[in-house]
Symmetry: C2
Subunit: 497 residues, 2 copies
């Protein structure tokens, strides 16, 4: 980033120009907020039932605690939002929930229950280029066990991830948690003689594209390179055909069941020490998954799973939504990955010097909520009952009626804008109110209220041809004695739910 701070004096921002939110920080309205809150509730309920406890850390961490190199530059840590505190230390907004957990665990290790099992949910921030569906602020919901060395702790994360997917609303065959281990990947990398980090990365990136490019595309990327449809050439890992074959045999060792995949992997990875350790790890995970009663279809061993982050040291896993949904424009959308995790035995050691084995799982709440919102699992929410005020002098009667409804447990409000009937009806309509209750001096004198069933009214109105007829018919509208108001309103509200 450039150091200069331009402020064009010819183009000061005033008035409406000011009223916009920064790119990548979208406003969220009622429907999405409820979908996300509901998802967090469902997922954390699973984490809680499995014994995890809540922990919230602050939005900021010291930049050096986030574990990236801190250059003496204007803005350290590309990819995170950082600023200098008044004591000149750089602080950064968390980019995930794992790094703050590692800091917390290291800071409090002496007094924590060991292992320390915590869940957390909240926003994380990434200073990246925003785009469609790519935000710079989004919600994650994590569970981690710090201080647990065994593969059954990884298996617990995996089984719990599957349960979280089901709790979120995914049924049989609508999702899968794919599992692999870094040990097997490492064994294969050594097996083909790939020793430098660059080649490792090229191979792992190629495997990660199996879904999209298929066998021959990945084979190109493992070998000399690949020309895509637009003519762009991506340099490959430079493996010879025999090596490419071995890597592909590994990546395609996925079978119908976990047991069959284990057998196929045994063939594909050879007999080295690291290969055996990886196979033992997956075998122990398979046994634990069985003890957890985890259905075969929920979790698959998939040797093509890579996971991006550098810090995983053992098993890695990824939760994928399989079902296709329609977006608002009717296009078919496949959400894909909605969460992932793995074992990270080195993260706490950065602070303590002592190796602390840890494993965790993170759900991307925004993606999950979007998935289930666009597929219609989240119903449109009704608005409140709106009490319209026909008395221009004094709103007290309308306030009293709204209070009566609320006291009866009905969500209700009196109209708070200026006077006039038309804006009041328009308001009730825009709020999605199921019922409008009208109160004026006439109604009070007669001991009644006028109730309008807005959904029924809209239905009847559709069949009416002229304005005159409409005014005459007053569709969906009726008078009720004040003593019956609550019962009549409740009836319509409940029918609308």
């Amino acid at each position: 980033m450039s150091k200069k701070k331009k402020q064009d004096p010819d183009a000061p921002k005033t008035g409406k120009d000011l009223a916009r939110s920064p790119r990548g920080f979208p406003d969220r309205r009622e429907g999405l907020i409820h979908a996300q809150a509901e998802m967090i509730d469902r997922v954390t309920s699973v984490y809680r039932r499995w014994g995890f406890e809540a922990l919230d850390t602050g939005a900021f961490e010291y930049a050096d605690a986030l574990g990236k190199f801190l250059p003496d530059d204007d803005r350290p840590n590309a990819g995170v939002f950082s600023l200098q505190d008044d004591d000149e230390q750089w602080i950064s907004l968390r980019y995930d929930l794992t790094a703050p957990l590692a800091r917390f665990a290291a800071e409090n290790w002496q007094t924590l229950p060991k292992p320390f099992r915590r869940y957390a949910s909240g926003p994380v921030w990434r200073n990246e280029k925003p785009g469609p569906g790519r935000f710079r602020e989004f919600l994650q919901c994590d569970a981690d066990t710090v201080g647990a060395p065994g593969p059954h702790a990884d298996a617990e994360m995996i089984a719990m991830a599957a349960e979280a997917m089901r709790a979120a609303g995914a049924g049989d065959s609508e999702f899968v948690v794919r599992v692999n281990t870094r040990r097997l990947l490492n064994a294969v990398l050594s097996g083909v003689g790939a020793s430098d980090a660059g080649t490792h990365l090229t191979i792992l990136r190629a495997l990660d594209k199996m879904d999209r490019l298929g066998e021959s595309g990945v084979a190109d990327l493992l070998g000399k390179g690949r020309m895509d449809d637009s003519g762009d050439f991506t340099k490959g890992a430079g493996l010879d055909p025999e090596q490419v074959k071995r890597v592909l045999a590994f990546a395609q060792a996925g079978r119908e069941t976990r047991g069959e995949t284990l057998e196929a992997l045994g063939q594909a990875v050879g007999t080295g020490e690291e290969a055996q350790a990886g196979l033992d790890e997956l075998t122990a995970i398979a046994r634990a998954l069985e003890a957890f009663g985890c259905p075969e279809g929920d979790v698959a061993f998939d040797p093509s799973v890579v996971r991006g982050l550098e810090y995983y040291t053992g098993p890695v896993f990824e939760a994928e939504l399989l079902r296709e949904t329609l977006d608002e424009d009717g296009n078919t959308v496949r959400i894909g990955s909605v969460g992932g995790g793995g074992r990270y035995d080195d993260l706490v050691a950065r602070f303590t010097g002592e190796k602390v084995p840890a494993t965790g799982f993170s759900v991307g709440i925004s993606r999950l909520a979007t998935a289930f919102a666009i597929s219609g699992n989240i119903d449109a929410l009704n608005g409140p009952v709106v009490v319209l005020n026909l008395n221009r002098e004094d709103p007290s009667d309308a306030l009293r009626v709204a209070t009566e409804l609320r006291n009866a447990g009905i969500r209700a409000e009196a109209y708070m804008g200026g006077s006039g009937m038309r804006p009041q009806m328009k308001y009730a309509d825009r709020r999605g109110a199921p019922v409008a209750v009208m109160v004026g001096e006439d109604e009070i004198a007669k001991g009644v209220v006028t109730i309008k069933d807005l959904k029924e009214g809209a239905k009847q109105a559709a069949a009416i041809k002229s304005n005159a007829e409409y005014r005459e018919a007053r569709p969906g509208q009726f008078e009720a004695p004040r003593s019956e108001m609550i019962a009549r309103v409740r009836e319509i509200v409940e029918a609308a739910e």
Copy 2:
């Protein structure tokens, strides 16, 4: 702030030094998290029942949209956290929930229901010096009506604030919502001929101290000035004794009931236009509060209420907890103000040019949760049932038992750390587990589990004198057939709740 960025090469941060959170951003554990979530839930439930809808804006706003002067300096907006985006615009973390609402309402005014009624809850950030109980990140929970000109919209906020206090757990006489209006304050200021902003501020600040300094202290601050106990002198507003008397008569016009206070205020503020407008406003609010069924003791008219923020233009209100509580050290603590609000008719106009009347209320969730947490309303939470694994070779049986318990709806986990009995018992203890279930090869062979009631065990153990006796007695511990496990565990868990 200085521009230099020191990094002392002699004192690089490594290891444990790194493991600390930035000042003013405390970590929150289980108990406080639940207390805060519960408070948010209770308060937003009230807002929802009154018809408000949810809106969440992002953490960042453009600095210029937050409405403070943006100097061409390294860090604009003292008091907020700001940084430069990659397009060189300054963005700031929100310091309250009202400024983002004003931006949102201006941006979307055409399509919103009018009035627009939203609630929001979430963290806000202030770049201030942290101290005991003063954080740089805290939770607010707001409701606002944008586009509502009438005093009954203010009255709704006030009545709802009282209901929120009750929902939070405050009973009769344990809280009060104090109400005043800027119009009366302005009338009094004009009445004593105070015309410059500096004198206004000095007078308002003096009134704000009535609680702490009493009549004579405030009289000094309104007049020539005040010497405090330490000998420090604060310059006064320079009013003459007659003027001081008038201001004090106003500030002390609070009476037992809202009606009596209105009468006393009528005497104290004279007959000017602004005074009459203020009295009319409070009279209309009193009438609306009655229509809302708001108890006399919940809301008081109090002419000494000032409220700090510059942007209020009409009624202002403050929710105060009256009851005293004991903190952890047994000291008496009075929490005081836990929320406030008022009418701000000019805030949206900054964007649109058009005056949009608005009123709102904000609850400080952190303070409220602290208030009820330290007074014992939030019970200590039980930990999960912990299944201890006595089989060093294979944890499957322990995993299976934990799964069985979870499937029966009991919060349970298998111990995930290394082997050994002692750390397992210590773990169950630190987690506050009500029950430990022990599973080993012996138990499996006999078709039983060993159940330990940890609370009962601790009670019995207190009466035991020697280790030998303890090992013999195994306090609180018994064997149960596997088929009875769920029933026996559930019994103990429910008794512990």
